[in-house]
């Protein structure tokens, strides 16, 4: 089913930029982290976020972010098990990166806004 994942994630250098981008250098990961920072913590909340992330991509990113130690999940309900997602300290420290990105976008892409809360 899922024996190995050996595709494009191979990194040959210890460069901090490259390694960081291997973790969050795609279109969705940072958006998920951004939503988590804003208080969207359940699967549904994340899915109904503004950008409309496809459900399979969301599940995949949550899994990868968890494996990378940026996100942790904990059950908040037992009967059908339901999880709440939270950023670890490592994940939360990415907010400095997000802040820089937001700032750049505001200054360089006309018409964009901060949207810090739904």
């Amino acid at each position: 089913m899922k024996p190995k994942k050996k595709t494009a994630g191979i990194r040959r250098s210890p460069c901090a930029v490259a390694c960081t981008l291997d973790i969050v250098g795609d279109k969705w990961s940072l958006l998920v982290i951004r939503d988590l920072l804003q208080g969207n913590v359940t699967y549904g909340e994340l899915q109904n976020s503004r950008e409309g992330i496809p459900t399979n991509i969301l599940a995949d990113r949550l899994k990868k972010l968890e494996e990378a130690g940026l996100v942790s999940k904990s059950a908040y309900q037992e009967h059908p098990v339901r999880y709440r997602y939270a950023l670890t300290a490592k994940g939360e420290s990415l907010k400095d990166v997000l802040r820089a990105i937001v700032q750049w976008g505001k200054e360089n892409i006309p018409g964009t806004v901060v949207l810090s809360r739904r």
Copy 2:
């Protein structure tokens, strides 16, 4: 044969994060920008950078970054036309984002270094 390519780049929200990530939210763009900041300005210099970007990807990224107004190219030689690539002010201002990324990588990925110069 390739008039418009607008597949996954569709923007549904004016969110500054999402829009910024649509421009540089992939594995290579920020690395190219990083190399340009470091003084690698010809095609060959960029290609021989540490990460080993495939040539077609490099050409594609340079084109897209130019279209996005982050990079400009100018001929520095005529006989076979050779170009030198440079960051525009807009592109150069991304160094704040890169700085945040470097910092996060250094603090959170053991074994990574800054590699600020070859």
